[in-house]
Symmetry: C2
DNA sequence: TTAGTTAGCGTATTTTTGACGTTAACTTTG
DNA sequence: CAAAGTTAACGTCAAAAATACGCTAACTAA
């Protein structure tokens, strides 16, 4: 049995895979990272928004905090989906150097709890993200990332796809009012497939928590669609009935 | 942003929810814990098998190690399903005292990665488990547990139920040869429901990885059933076809 | 010999899925 | 202003899956 001691514990962090949706693409919020490589050249790559936790901070709250700092949003869908704890997660010299520079500490090892969250990009409003040059990147065009953050995003996306099939979470990424088509395009982007619009409509409209509004689209070059909204109250009430879709 | 330092990091552990199956019940391996309560009386409760990780130990490997120490078994189905990181996980005086006694260290906080694993109880064979007075407890009769281990088991069971519907993992808990009825009783125990034997048979036998053996039951007071075995090779080959059942 | 048990096959009904046809209602373009 | 292009929103049909349940076979125990 190994003997634990405070001076031999890995550091713990949280990393957030923050998904958003715009211009018909599923996007992830990434932060630019500047570093000097071995040849002394200033270089850039990206990392996930994340932070170390403090000694008395709850993991879930640390994730909420990170999320709020990055997006200015609170009370957001947030789900812990995995821990990444390989001892060599941080073995790249660039990563080690960067950690030393930004924290001022020699960190041997970091175990990170990974969360994913879904937000409506339109509502995002924060200085923090701008200051840290955060940007929304299409999940299909992920650039080179720090640490094992590419793995984390991949696992997060897999988990998001799974959850989408059993829980109505897509709404978190849409504005209050949306059309069935908006929803379908979102599902297609997340599941990375195409869906038949007639069948999609049939299935999704069985959900009692989708409420049709009186309002319709205007100014579109086709028959205007009804707007709908997601009724969280009805969903909570009928949770047991709604056990997902098999697209 | 909080500042990480090695002397302010929580300790990291792994805890294993080890499921097994015997006498038609789903069971969990629990370890007896002796402690002295506030009134000075020697008392007992149970905890999950788990251990602290050492500074260079991979989380998954730490879980495998714990599992092997407890059961003597290697190469076992093992799945990380959550991290438990509330700062007050260890706030009960009994738990704090016990930690101090067994480790000799003042541990402020422990973040634990939870794994579940499925084993065939019959093959278990180890001194370690006996020495640590481990026992198989019916999941429906869980006694008072240390720390937040009751939560961990509950989450583990939920995850097991989910996985069972999409992956052929029940076999891990059965002997090499088993009948369709054995399998059904196992499914019923895990999912906590009853299934129609005719429909269960129809569904499960669609799986190509279930191979009928020539051998039949003997000495049973009814028509003897064929034995089957799970063919892991066939399963791996057809993984994509078999996308689960909806019982 | 009979009663009790589970194995293992089958049938019939309903539900869900998936593919696709069609009209309605709007804008844009020639 | 007519025609073309687009998506909305409804519906049909056949295949597949889920569900409920009947029945005979093959064994043991009493």
């Amino acid at each position: 049995m190994s003997i634990p001691g405070r001076n031999i514990n890995p550091t713990i962090s949280v990393d957030c895979v923050i998904f958003g949706f715009s211009t018909n693409q599923l996007k992830v919020l990434l932060i630019e990272r500047s570093f000097t490589d071995r040849s002394g050249i200033e270089s850039k790559d990206y990392k996930l928004p994340g932070d170390f936790i403090s000694i008395n901070e709850d993991l879930d709250l640390a994730a909420s905090r990170t999320l709020e700092e990055m997006t200015g949003l609170r009370d957001i869908f947030l789900c812990q989906f995995a821990v990444f704890g390989k001892p060599d997660r941080i073995s790249n010299p660039v990563d080690m150097e960067w950690l030393l520079e930004t924290t001022g500490l020699e960190i041997q090892r970091v175990v990170t709890a990974a969360y994913y969250s879904l937000i409506n990009i339109g509502e995002t409003n924060t200085d923090f993200a701008i200051k840290n040059s955060a940007s929304w990147i299409d999940v299909k065009q992920i650039p080179k990332l720090a640490f094992d953050h590419a793995d984390i995003i991949e696992q997060g996306l897999i988990r998001l796809q799974l959850s989408l099939r059993s829980e109505p979470i897509g709404f978190e990424m849409l504005p209050e009012k949306f059309t069935i088509r908006d929803l379908q395009i979102l599902y297609e982007a997340i599941l990375d497939c195409t869906l038949d619009n007639r069948n999609f409509r049939k299935k999704i409209l069985k959900s009692s928590y989708l409420v049709q509004l009186d309002e319709k689209q205007t100014g579109v070059a086709h028959k205007p669609a009804h707007y709908y909204r997601f009724d969280r109250y009805i969903y909570e009430k009928h949770k047991k009935e709604s056990l997902g879709f098999n697209f």
